[in-house]
Symmetry: C3
Subunit: 307 residues, 3 copies
Amino acid sequence: MKLTRKDILGIKDLAVDEINLILETAESFIEVSTREIKKVPTLRGKTIINLFFEASTRTRTSFEIAAKRLSADTINISASTSSVVKGETLVDTARNLEAMNPDVIVIRHSAAGAPHMLAGMIKQSIINAGDGAHEHPSQALLDMMTIKEKKGRIAGIKVAIVGDIAHSRVARSNIYGLTKMGAKVIVAGPAMMLPRNIEQMGVTVYHQLKEAIKDVDIIMMLRIQLERQQQRIFPSLREYSNYFCLNRQNITLAKEDVLVMHPGPINRGIEIAPDIADGPYSVILDQVKNGVAVRMALLYLLTGGKS
Amino acid sequence: MKLTRKDILGIKDLAVDEINLILETAESFIEVSTREIKKVPTLRGKTIINLFFEASTRTRTSFEIAAKRLSADTINISASTSSVVKGETLVDTARNLEAMNPDVIVIRHSAAGAPHMLAGMIKQSIINAGDGAHEHPSQALLDMMTIKEKKGRIAGIKVAIVGDIAHSRVARSNIYGLTKMGAKVIVAGPAMMLPRNIEQMGVTVYHQLKEAIKDVDIIMMLRIQLERQQQRIFPSLREYSNYFCLNRQNITLAKEDVLVMHPGPINRGIEIAPDIADGPYSVILDQVKNGVAVRMALLYLLTGGKS
Amino acid sequence: MKLTRKDILGIKDLAVDEINLILETAESFIEVSTREIKKVPTLRGKTIINLFFEASTRTRTSFEIAAKRLSADTINISASTSSVVKGETLVDTARNLEAMNPDVIVIRHSAAGAPHMLAGMIKQSIINAGDGAHEHPSQALLDMMTIKEKKGRIAGIKVAIVGDIAHSRVARSNIYGLTKMGAKVIVAGPAMMLPRNIEQMGVTVYHQLKEAIKDVDIIMMLRIQLERQQQRIFPSLREYSNYFCLNRQNITLAKEDVLVMHPGPINRGIEIAPDIADGPYSVILDQVKNGVAVRMALLYLLTGGKS
């Protein structure tokens, strides 16, 4: 089976068959990263551009490692060193890159919809590596891959997503993906962090962590974006932490075999207690490992690979 | 035929035969970037260093893609992360790189003559990727390649270069190259943007856009460097734009099959109207495409390749 | 013979046999950088991450070139573009990288002991590329390699290390290494730049350059860190230079065949006169050349290579 779409812009657009194809392809790539020689010649002679307008270690590194393990050539462009400082528009930057004939452009941008705009204008494949508070599809795919790996399935799994739902592209992409795949999704956070009408996305809403995580299989904690604190979304970090930090007491409300996920970077002691982040329930580093495989799958499928 | 020189520092130094050799080699490399596997093993085991002391997306990316499509290893060094912050001199930086035995150092620097100084001191090949307001030879070569591609020849072609001629390394390199190759070159811009005695470079000077582009085959618009605006080279952007922005009205003064070029990044609505930049006359993205091929040719020829 | 340790954290930990193994392996790699095709397939499919929390040209570039000449894939992460700006801890950054399964992480950090902490936590090999004022083992190894190359041996050689000994990781690593290898080490600098009890490291201490360099085989000048000047470690640069700048007069006190070394970047005219840095005694660029070979040896040996 092949992926027929040109771009990966969000989970909202993906059909269940497409998600299954990506996850199965990713599963087959896990093994490459464990070999003595961690490299396959699949994408030799392909050019992958990482166009990052926001700082990122893990996502850029994950895409770059994924590309290199497939033998693709990678080019990194970060906003601070780019022509953006000369006032060029995003569209002109992208059209210029298009003219150099890359195969895939991976883009992260603070403006929601930026990757979609580019995808409609240029002929190469675009992967959205995070656009504002909109979508972060490769993150949701690696999260779904991790749930499937650990629980054997996604359908019927009960997942609580906790934190600043309103400003989280990770939450949004996961809500689209998990509900499509048949999981039951619960979201929780302080009132100011919950978008109006979020129920319409097919989720159950709670305002208390303790209610939300009751009997769930998966708890997905979101990162509190400390840089937003100046905007006073919540009274204080301490207060947030009192009510929403996952710790060894409140986690007992979840199922006994609950798994804890976090997209990183972690604020230890704010949204998650250190002993939970590093403890036996945590699959946070499995998420990272699976991230490389998911990105290999996306690059492979978008450049014409078959499962 | 082989290139016998060690460095590419400027178009001023190049003989017509050398320019022809570079353009013909570049034409033969165009095809590589259209292959399924966009890579040839020609420069395997060669090390190319991109040493950029000024921000750049397109030029650095173009050189990096060119090097990778030839299978060279590339190292990027940008001023902000380099020892320059520790106060090291340019010469010491270059000598240190020399000792690591790269094959080519591609350098962009705000000081005119910086690449020439290095070329005289170190044994590896230097390519000037832009030095102050002096020269930008790979840009002029890709411009000439584009003219030749679209018009079938350079000799006899009438080219108007419009904008801040005095501060443009693109203008200077193109004037050297186009006059050498037999084109007729016209320059135009406000008085403060025209260097004294520019006629001695073999060009015709006009102070009005409308005079300059009359019956020309090619209009090459230069980027207004907004960052210089504080120096008050011209009264206002609006005034500049009123007199020198290429738009659908004034372009009718040129030949019917006129082509519009721009080195990028474009200031839309300042030196060029959006519908002209994106319209049928524009070959701006052909320039970018040819840029990769020209840089492949330079890297190939400087490391001993034959046409 | 193989290296049995997982990490290279400092020279203090290394046995003489290990130092000899590294130097001999490095000597065998010198030839690779002089080939027409400067590349061997030894580390194909290995992933090397350069994780630099401090600005660096030469060390990062040297490791990157070393890795590429061994055919490894390299990933550069610099602090300014990393998740560190989002407040992630160093440990979480490293654990995330660990989960992407690289083979070696090369780390530079301003905090002494940072590489050691990581080495104890993650399963991949760590190379310390400079931690605070603590150690810089690859620098000391390339220095020892240069001494051995030029003098035929290290044992019995008389080496003066001059400058800000107290704040120099280069000095510390060299003191450990050179004394282990049987050299006689002298240190000199103004009183405020000499750590208390430095004699316990097995060195002789002088407060005058002229005393320190008398009859020595090697003078190793340290870089005065101008950025520390605000802390007023010494009254003025001019005064420092008057007493401690190596120049054509005072160098005559050393042996006739004395060699001058410097880890770079050089402050010309402050700790070393330009004619000495560029003169016949200087082996500064040999140090840089050997740096690539030493780093190839470290990457090779840590990933399981045998001499």
